[in-house]
Each structure stands twice: as structure tokens, then as C-alpha cells.
């Protein structure tokens, strides 16, 4: 039986890990490679690194950081932010990343999903999708609109429609982040997660809103997510992955212990 995955997300700003609350007021929590090693030793299943300032500053992702992480951890990890081309994606994968994540760029240049999948295999290509609730808006039948550039720019796309199209084009996994739930720690957006998970044939990672272990259980068992992504629970509360997964296991979720 395929186990549910616990993923810790590390947002990187100027080479340091931060945890953003609704993408503002970022505060610093540490060095990416040493934190990665600690989380690895504590039993996390996978890690994600987003270079959150790379795109805005118009620079490529920090390949040296990717290399330093790859030397220290022996589980899959994804990198995103500052990947502007196939060649950037290739550099990140060659440095040891398992997957690359495209977000705003996939919206403005969807062909990149297709080219990435053809070049590296779709299992290496993750669509990062930020969803903003638009209840009652007939343009967005799923109830959510895709937003890009760190949540600042509405993309005019329905979340479920975009997820389906991205999976058709070549995304091998979808990391769905609820902008409304992110940083609030009051639970994942179960409704949009369930809608996306049912609509696409590829794995879905739920992101945004984890404050308690019960939130993870809900999104994994009721929201149809294949993996739950956390940040504050690890960075701020200091909960270890082993401890979180023990608790999840007790709540009936099949995880790697």
C-alpha cells in the first residue's frame, strides 16, 4: 500500500529559510542545508525548497544550495522559484534535485510543462498552484481562482481546469497551496483539495493551513491528498516528523515510520 507522505517546505529568502504568513512579514529560521539534514534525520519523507525571492529579483535558483542539500539528504526533494527555462530545470536536476516545481511560469508559458516532461520525464515536473477563494464567481466553477507571483496577481483561471490542463501537458504532480489558508494554521482547504485530487490522474500535495496534526489527517483521509506539506509545525513548533507521523499513524493514516 502506498503510504501518505509528509513534506516539509522551506521557503528561502537571501539564502536563509523563512516562513511566510500570507507571503508577507517573512521571518528568518535558518540555513537551508543544515535544516534539511536535521529534518532528514528526524524522518521526513520529502522536502521542498522555494527560492521565494529569485523570480522577483530576476536571478536563477541558487544551484550551490541545491548541491549542498543533495550531499546531505537521501530522500527526494523538489526545488522551485527562479526556474526560468529548461536549462535552469536541467541544472537543478543535475545538481541532485528529484523534481522541479513551476508556478507562475507554467501559467505564462504552459509549453514549459510539456517540454520539461518530454526532456526529463513527467515525474520530475511539479506544478505549483496557488489557489484563491472566489466563492460565487461564475468564472471559477471550482470556487477558486489561480493566482501567481506569490499570490499578488490573479491569473483568471479556474483552479480545477488549470490543474487538469497542467496534468495533460506534463505535470507529474500538483502541489496545491491555498492562499487563504496559508499561514493561518486553521486547517487545509479540504474542498478545493478534494476537487483537484478527484480531477487529476497525478498525485496531489496539499499545502497551506496545517496547524495541528488532525488537519493533516483530514486532508490525507478526507481531502484525497497524497501528501501533506507543512512549514510552521516543523520550523516554529519544532515538531519532529517522526513524532508527527506516529500521531498520524495512531489516527489511522498509513505513513512511513
Amino acid at each position: 500500500m502506498l503510504l501518505k507522505r509528509l513534506i516539509i517546505c522551506l521557503d528561502i529568502r537571501d539564502g536563509k529559510v523563512t516562513k511566510g504568513v500570507r507571503f508577507v512579514d517573512n521571518r528568518e529560521v535558518g540555513d537551508p542545508a543544515s535544516l534539511a539534514r536535521r529534518y532528514y534525520e528526524e524522518g521526513v519523507d520529502e522536502l521542498v525548497f522555494y527560492d521565494i525571492t529569485a523570480s522577483a529579483e530576476g536571478r536563477a535558483i541558487d544551484i550551490d544550495m541545491v548541491r549542498r542539500v543533495a550531499e546531505r539528504i537521501f530522500i527526494p526533494f523538489t526545488v522551485g522559484g527562479g526556474l526560468g527555462s529548461l536549462s535552469d530545470m536541467r541544472s537543478a536536476l543535475l545538481a541532485g534535485a528529484e523534481k522541479v516545481s513551476l508556478n507562475s511560469l507554467a501559467v505564462t508559458n504552459p509549453a514549459l510543462l510539456e517540454e520539461g516532461a518530454r526532456e526529463f520525464g513527467r515525474q520530475c515536473v511539479v506544478l505549483g498552484l496557488d489557489a484563491k477563494r472566489r466563492p460565487g464567481d461564475p468564472r471559477f466553477p471550482s470556487g477558486c481562482e489561480v493566482v501567481i507571483r506569490g499570490g499578488r496577481t490573479p491569473a483568471g483561471l479556474d483552479v480545477v481546469e488549470w490543474a487538469k490542463r497542467a496534468a495533460d501537458l506534463g505535470a507529474g504532480e500538483i502541489c496545491l497551496n491555498s492562499i487563504d489558508a496559508d499561514g493561518v494554521r486553521d486547517g487545509y482547504d479540504l474542498d478545493i483539495t478534494r476537487r483537484v485530487a478527484r480531477a487529476v490522474p497525478v498525485p496531489v500535495v496539499a499545502s497551506g493551513g496545517a496547524g495541528k496534526i488532525i488537519h493533516l489527517r483530514d486532508v490525507l483521509l478526507r481531502g484525497g491528498a497524497d501528501a501533506a506539506l507543512i512549514a510552521s509545525l516543523a520550523h516554529i513548533d519544532g515538531r519532529t516528523s517522526r513524532d508527527i507521523k506516529q500521531e498520524l499513524s495512531g489516527l489511522g493514516v498509513a505513513v512511513r515510520l
Partner: protein, 225 residues
């Protein structure tokens, strides 16, 4: 020399880093000439079957692998490396593979529409049989997988082949690991002689995977414990 076959098959840096982490000194080799002195060979692979086969053949690495096995050199094949050992893969409309193990490679076709492909994540590997590359503690552990195709060996439980590989006097092989997904149980680790192959990625399977790599570094190529 510990050789990692580098034939343009995606993320092999993580294989190198993991082998180095457990004390190996791996070198990438790009063709048969460079691989000639190898005393231990890792055959990784990510990509599509046709690309991989074309590239292996153009570099002479198909013959190198067959030759290494006939000389008893330890070979560890991973993921699509394992799949390509068989006769044939359904991928890309059908591709003749290396034919070093009898059997074919099929695509997962789950009847449950909620079953996601690729099979991506950690899954249980049940090991019912001992092998020097597996920890003595049975019955197995959790390992990291990412694939859409799986190998279907053509041999019986005793390892006797009922459909020998083309041109080979094949004894078949043995299944060392079995994993359940998409409504079936598939062979996630197989071996014969000095060859051991895993569908999962030891280099990405944390301590359980590093343990297999560490055992590979000192394995004499005999399948008996």
C-alpha cells in the same frame, strides 16, 4: 573501479552522492571503453525506455552489461535500469530491451480511477527471501518509488524461466521483493547471479536504501547469504 553508467538518463547525481556517502568512490562512465576496468557497476536510469536503449546501444553499454554479468561482476540496476534488463517494454509503443532477464515490462492500468500514476512515494517492499544486499531482518521495509511501468518476470517461484530471453541460456531469476500497487503485486526487487535490481530508488530511500548501497560496495557477487 565502482562505475555508474552515465548514458544520459536523468538524475544520476543522487546515486553518486549516496554511494559516496556510504564510503564508495564512484565514477561516471559514458561508454564501454571507459567502463572497461569496472569491478562493480551501478546501472541507474530515469527517462523513457526507447531513449535509454538507443543510448545504451550507441555507447556499447548493452554488451558491456552482458559481459559483466557473464564474468560475475556485481551489478546493481535501479528503476528503469531494472526494467531494461528484461526482454521487452511496452513503453513508447514497444521497445526491445536488453534481454538479460526473461519477462516483460508493463504499464500500470488501475481499474480504480482514483489510483494515481506514476506510483510515486514510499511503499512497502516485502522480502520473503534472503540476499546479501538485503538486511537480514525480514520481512522488509519502506522504500521510495517513482514509476509508471513495472517488470513482469517470466519465471516461476523457483526462478526457473518458462520463456527464456532471446539468445541466452537463461536460468530466469528470483524475486527478492514484492510490492502492492494499482490492484496488483509486482516484483520490486529481483536478482540472479551477480545481478541485483530494484524498482525502488535505494539512493532516495533514507537509511533503508543507504544500507543496500553499503552492502553492494562489499558484495562478492554471490547471491547466497
Amino acid at each position: 573501479m565502482l562505475a555508474i553508467l552515465d548514458y544520459g538518463a536523468g538524475n544520476i547525481e543522487s546515486v553518486r552522492l549516496a554511494l559516496r556517502h556510504v564510503g564508495g568512490r564512484p565514477e561516471f562512465v559514458r561508454d564501454a571503453a571507459a567502463a572497461a576496468g569496472a569491478t562493480r557497476v551501478v546501472f541507474p536510469g530515469v527517462g523513457t525506455a526507447r531513449q535509454c536503449m538507443d543510448s545504451l546501444r550507441s555507447r556499447g553499454l548493452d554488451r558491456f552489461l552482458a559481459d559483466s554479468l557473464s564474468r560475475g561482476i556485481p551489478v546493481l540496476a535501479v528503476c528503469i535500469g531494472m526494467q531494461l534488463l528484461f526482454d521487452f517494454s511496452e513503453e513508447d509503443g514497444g521497445v526491445a530491451a536488453l534481454g538479460l532477464l526473461p519477462g516483460r515490462v508493463r504499464r500500470f492500468r488501475p481499474s480504480d480511477p482514483g489510483c494515481k500514476i506514476p506510483h510515486m512515494g514510499w511503499n512497502r517492499v516485502d522480502t520473503g527471501r534472503r540476499h546479501p544486499l538485503l538486511p537480514p531482518a525480514l520481512p522488509g521495509g519502506d522504500f521510495y518509488f517513482v514509476h509508471s511501468y513495472y517488470a513482469e518476470p517470466a519465471w516461476n517461484a523457483a526462478g526457473v524461466s518458462h520463456r527464456p530471453a532471446a539468445g541466452a541460456d537463461s536460468p530466469g531469476g528470483l524475486v527478492y521483493g514484492a510490492t502492492a500497487y494499482a490492484g496488483l503485486t509486482f516484483a520490486s526487487a529481483v536478482g540472479t547471479g551477480s545481478l541485483f535490481a530494484t524498482q525502488f530508488h535505494p539512493e532516495k530511500s533514507a537509511a533503508a536504501g543507504l544500507d543496500i548501497l553499503a552492502r553492494f560496495l562489499v558484495w562478492d557477487g554471490s547471491p547466497c547469504c
